[in-house]
């Protein structure tokens, strides 16, 4: 059984790898869109810190650089794009075939996701080195935090992938509303995940909202853990929150998928 799963994963991984290599230029171009936003916020916050002439909520200019370079990398690893994938399935009339394959659709998308990341990771790492040379980041490692970062990163990925999957299932049923949902999703992610600023820099109100939502555990938590800015107690709370949200979202995802497919097969594709 495990071997079969591994075989399957290898199959999906391989075909997607071949695909990304055929689309080299497009893939690199797509990366520009992933690199630019962290660089913009990095520049903005560094200017702000310079203007203020002090560190902001304990973040010096160098810390800000470290934070956003790490955000770029963690964001890359945890990124999920099932919504786009499904839209292209529908547009290209490929969805029927995807559904009729004798493997779970989620598994197919998961393998595609991992293949893309592995294919593009070298470019991202090179970019990170280039940014480090430009923005002078500061480093304060704590060995235990770096070790703890690995499971935090994986949990963050699992959580984000699941949430994205729920959105995609819903969106595929409501194609005309996809853009609107994306815009809203983008807004919430931007404000509460740590994409635009480390959470301690955000106004109290937004921090409270962020605490009530799953998104900060997808980005802000692993990044600040890596930077050694999270205490042991906060780290444990973080892991618990990640695990709790993951369980809840998996449950919701299961229901969403079931009812989504029921509706699919009622209205046609």
């Amino acid at each position: 059984m495990m071997f079969r799963l591994f075989e399957l994963f290898r199959g999906y991984f391989r075909i997607n790898m071949v695909r990304f290599l055929a689309y080299r230029v497009e893939t690199v171009i797509w990366l520009v869109g992933m690199i630019l936003p962290p660089v913009v916020f990095l520049s903005v916050w560094q200017s702000a810190a310079q203007q203020a002439g002090r560190s902001l909520a304990g973040f010096s200019r160098g810390d800000i650089a470290t934070y956003f370079i790490a955000v770029m990398l963690v964001n890359h690893v945890t990124q999920a794009w099932a919504v786009f994938l499904w839209e292209s399935y529908v547009r290209e009339g490929y969805l029927s075939y995807v559904i009729l394959r004798p493997n779970p659709v989620m598994f197919q998308d998961f393998a595609e996701n991992v293949a893309f990341k592995v294919a593009t990771l070298p470019v991202m790492l090179l970019t990170a080195v280039g940014l480090a040379a430009t923005f002078a980041p500061t480093l304060h490692w704590k060995p235990w935090a770096v070790v703890a970062f690995i499971p935090a990163l994986l949990l963050a990925f699992a959580l984000r992938f699941t949430v994205d999957w729920i959105t995609a299932t819903w969106a595929a049923l409501n194609m005309t509303k996809v853009d609107a949902v994306n815009v809203l999703f983008f807004f919430i992610l931007l404000m509460t995940s740590g994409q635009m600023a480390p959470l301690p820099l955000l106004p109290r109100g937004i921090q409270m909202v962020a605490n009530a939502l799953p998104f900060r555990w997808m980005l802000d938590f692993p990044v600040r853990l890596l930077m050694g800015r999270v205490g042991t107690e906060e780290a444990l709370i973080g892991f618990a929150a990640q695990a709790g949200w993951l369980v809840a979202m998996t449950g919701i995802g299961f229901v969403a998928w079931r009812s989504g497919m029921r509706k699919f097969t009622a209205v046609g594709l």
Binding site: E26, V32, V40, Q51, D179, F187, L202
Partner: protein
């Protein structure tokens, strides 16, 4: 002019096709607007000014950003995307056999009418910011602003026409369009905040800086005439260059889908 009106009308009919689309677009634009304001608000909760720009001055940039983005998304981007599709499918033949100016047809053929909302938001943000700044805009500043904005618009337009024409050589360009919008997002902030490589690519590679930062500076009276004149000259050059390029591409290189 009649033609443009007709395109507008057709645009309205196609968009109203889906009742939801209208409400959805209002919703999307509002969220985009709230996003823009919120980001500024968060940054200004930590500082009074950034890179020498105050809150209200950045609202001027945001307003102009919405206006520019509204204009691009209303007419230019949908038409040029359609042009790219036409090149790909070979249906450009239908455009070329119509007795109208082909470049005009290619760049103003499809109108996404709901983008008017973005324009309106942009204008209101801009005027509110200006009132709050109490900017007494002199005649000179007004002229500089108009010139800079017009030049910026022309440069962006020429950029898009060239991008579309490129499709005649390299067919898969949808991704370039995506990159344009990614870089365009960076135009929400004054280009001066960025490290030099990004600043220069925002000025020359994707001329967002010229279209947004420069007119904002003109309005706030921070601009030398030399920059305005340079921008205008650049506009003239790019306009004619892109028109030549378009004609060259369409007349000499376009061979239909079978090519």
């Amino acid at each position: 002019m009649d033609l443009l009106l007709l395109f507008f009308k057709l645009g309205f009919v196609t968009e109203a096709e889906y009742r939801m689309n209208f409400y959805l677009h209002v919703f999307e634009t509002s969220v985009k607007f709230i996003t823009g304001i919120s980001v500024l608000w968060v940054v200004f909760s930590q500082t009074k000014s950034i890179g020498g720009w105050s809150w209200d001055e950045l609202m001027v940039v945001l307003g102009l950003w919405f206006i520019t983005s509204g204009l691009i998304n209303m007419v230019i981007a949908p038409s040029i995307k359609q042009f790219m599709t036409d090149v790909w499918k070979g249906t450009l033949d239908y455009v070329l056999t119509k007795p109208e100016n082909h470049q005009f047809m290619a760049s103003a053929r499809k109108v996404a009418i709901f983008q008017v909302i973005d324009l309106l938001i942009g204008i209101s943000v801009l005027s509110t910011a200006l009132v709050r700044l109490g900017a007494v805009i002199g005649v000179e500043q007004a002229i500089m602003f108009s010139l800079a904005l017009f030049s910026g618009g022309v440069i962006l337009y020429s950029f898009w026409v060239s991008l579309g024409t490129l499709a005649i050589w390299a067919v898969k360009l949808e991704n370039l369009v995506l990159v344009f919008f990614a870089m365009f997002e960076a135009g929400r902030w004054p280009a001066g905040l960025y490290p030099f490589w990004l600043r220069y690519s925002l000025t020359f590679l994707v001329p967002v800086g010229l279209a947004i930062t420069v007119p904002s500076e003109a309005l706030l009276g921070r601009l030398h005439w030399s920059t305005v004149l340079l921008s205008s000259a650049w506009a003239v050059v790019t306009f004619f260059a892109s028109a030549w390029f378009f004609n060259f591409g369409v007349r000499k290189r376009y061979m239909g889908a079978s090519a």
